[in-house]
């Protein structure tokens, strides 16, 4: 497939405005400005573009939820918080083609009639925040952003806002809280951000990759975009492959290729002398899949039918050297660390799951542990929490327990009773790993 989102990868000086313009850049924005904002939304709606951040919600429909005649400001937020384990695609787009992101932002802002857009980028991405800031300055200097966008009477300011280290801020309501200068605690929905978003105003939050799809929808048409992939699962998709493959990396492929094609053809298969044991199809929050599911199509609907999810398209590949109990424990540590702490099922559940898995690995598992893990996962998912982080930790862990019972049994069969625990006098007063308390 001809690259759309990664067409600038490998092009010399690809980040400069000049290079971008010479490759037909900002033509989509020019076309959008000549259209009615609602017609722009209609075009994106017709393309069947679905959000690339993880949920797969139709982008055009999200835009239509913004009340059109709302008095006062509206906002567009580009979500560049990219923190789902296994996902590293947005960084790739920003590294090579920051103006593609800015053009998508400008078109989306125009469509929802917003005059301010923020790019919320994860705090660790210092380099990529700098690249975006430089691109914005360049676009402003050339009259592409700012007071009169490309000579029209449309006004748009774009600001980069750096997070400060919190997985939860990738969730859109938590991101909004964080952008407002607060702790990243997710909000209850409804009201949805499209109605009550940042600073209490209508707000659309779209992922970097989603916005990067928008310029070519404008220049080449919704029909062209929808012809890639299959109905309801259209367009190019960035698949991030990590783990035990020969050639890990970001691959741009038409939506709906199979996992077999991604892993075996594009990534060169599993490293020498080993076999595939399991893979996460869409970031670590998706239920794990097994080698017999390699022929599942890597798109939203096919993954859902197979009992998992495409999520962000982060494919984590694990070979036969991996102990799945260790993999589950690793993820449990991640989610226990990243739970914001608002909801008890998620805060306590992720911590219990972590403790139980650590205990099994320490050789002190007991036969009822797998059932206990599944029970904790049930309580933390299915709408028991404000945001999807509860599901995000419950789904991968419960799927590992269900699909690899033998590995748990092996650890538990060899277990010895746990030595009696010595209770510290002040359990909360000890130093915690990380930056605090040292």
């Amino acid at each position: 497939m001809e690259p759309i989102l990664l067409r600038a990868r490998g092009v010399p000086n690809s980040r400069s405005l000049e290079t971008y313009l010479s490759a037909g850049g900002y033509e989509g924005l020019k076309k959008a400005l000549s259209m009615d904002p609602d017609a722009v939304t209609k075009e994106v709606l017709d393309s069947e573009l679905r959000g690339r951040g993880g949920a797969g919600f139709p982008t055009g429909r999200k835009w239509t939820f913004v009340p059109r005649d709302h008095p006062g400001p509206k906002y567009l937020i580009c979500n560049a918080d990219e923190s789902e384990p296994g996902t590293f695609k947005d960084r790739e787009i920003i590294e090579y083609d920051p103006h593609l992101v800015l053009e998508g932002i400008a078109i989306a802002s125009y469509a929802i009639r917003a005059n301010t857009a923020y790019i919320y980028i994860r705090g660790e991405f210092v380099r990529w925040a700098g690249i975006l800031e430089q691109a914005i300055a360049e676009a402003r200097a050339h009259g592409i952003l700012g007071r009169q966008v490309m000579g029209s009477d449309y006004h748009l300011d774009v600001w980069v806002h750096r997070g400060a280290g919190a997985y939860i801020c990738g969730e859109e309501t938590s991101l909004i809280e964080s952008l407002e200068g607060k702790r990243g605690f997710p909000r209850l929905k409804p009201p949805f951000p499209a109605v009550v978003g940042v600073f209490g105003k209508p707000t659309v939050v779209n992922n970097v990759e989603t916005l990067a799809c928008v310029p070519s929808i404008l220049t080449r048409g919704a029909g062209w975009f929808a012809s890639i992939g299959r109905p309801r699962n259209t367009g190019p998709k960035l698949y991030c492959v990590s783990g035990h493959v020969r050639r890990p990396g970001v691959y741009e492929l038409p939506m709906g290729v199979t996992f077999r094609e991604i892993i075996e053809e594009h990534c060169g298969g599993i490293r020498d002398g080993h076999r595939l044991k399991a893979f996460f199809p869409g970031g670590s929050s998706a239920p794990v899949m097994t080698p017999d599911q390699l022929d599942v199509k890597a798109d939203f609907d096919a993954c859902a039918e197979a009992g998992s999810m495409l999520g962000s398209g982060g494919v984590i590949v694990l070979d036969d050297t991996v102990d799945m109990v260790e993999a589950a424990a690793n993820l449990a540590h991640f989610y226990a660390h990243e739970s914001c702490g608002q909801c008890t099922p998620c805060r306590e559940g992720s911590d219990w799951a972590k403790d139980i898995l650590d205990r099994i690995l320490a050789g002190h598992g007991s036969p009822e542990d797998p059932q206990t893990l599944l029970r904790i996962c049930t309580y933390a998912s299915q709408g028991m929490t404000i945001c999807p982080l509860g599901d995000a930790f419950a789904l991968p862990i419960s799927s590992i327990v269900k699909k690899f019972p033998g590995e748990f049994e092996r650890h538990i069969a060899a277990a010895t009773p746990r030595p009696p625990k010595k209770l510290p006098v002040l359990p909360w007063a000890g130093p915690r790993p990380g930056f605090d308390g040292q």
Binding site: G86, E124, A164, G165, K182, F199, P433
Partner: protein, 176 residues
């Protein structure tokens, strides 16, 4: 790539903080990005961490006063996020990714190596204040695992040998 060292201002010099003209100017500029003062909190904290090396209690007081917030509110925000240093960091903070893709592709071995080589555990600093070791969650660069972030810079596709060479280089240069 040469990673810039962190120069943490000693705690006693940050007991009371007054922003100078340069800081005031930059804070003023940041405030124009947002309709509320509070929204400038994270960028202002970043500015302070860049300037002072860490977020001392005196910095929290000064930021709170400047943005019209209570110190308790600012403290709450600072401690929610993992990237603000609430104690003076070493000159180079080695942030080793511990999440799945890195862990299975050599990240665990890197951690063991660093602990042994530097003689410190997670959260600790070498006695000369050059290195600090921190285990972090997914850095979003899984395709080039294992990954270590040193101060602001990503080091990817690492091996024990490559990382050793980087650390030797950093330890040699007084300035980074």
């Amino acid at each position: 790539m040469t990673t810039a060292a962190i120069h943490a201002v000693p705690a006693e010099q940050l007991a009371t903080v007054t922003f100078d003209a340069t800081m005031e100017e930059r804070i003023g500029e940041l405030l124009t990005h947002y309709p509320t003062k509070r929204a400038a909190l994270l960028p202002v904290l970043w500015l302070c961490q860049q300037r002072y090396g860490w977020i001392a209690p005196g910095v929290i007081e000064a930021v709170a006063a400047r943005l019209g917030e209570s110190p308790a509110f600012v403290q709450g925000v600072v401690t929610f996020y993992t990237m603000f240093y609430t104690s003076p960091p070493a000159r180079y903070v080695l942030q080793v990714c511990e999440t799945l893709s890195c862990a299975v592709c050599g990240g665990r071995e890197l951690v063991e190596h660093l602990k042994a080589k530097l003689g410190i555990g997670f959260g600790e600093k070498t006695p000369d204040g050059t290195f600090q070791l921190v285990g972090v969650q997914c850095l979003g660069a899984c395709g080039s695992a294992p990954v270590v972030q040193i101060n602001d810079d990503y080091y990817e596709h690492l091996t024990i040998e490559k990382l050793d060479a980087v650390l030797d280089e950093l330890a040699k240069g007084k300035e980074g």
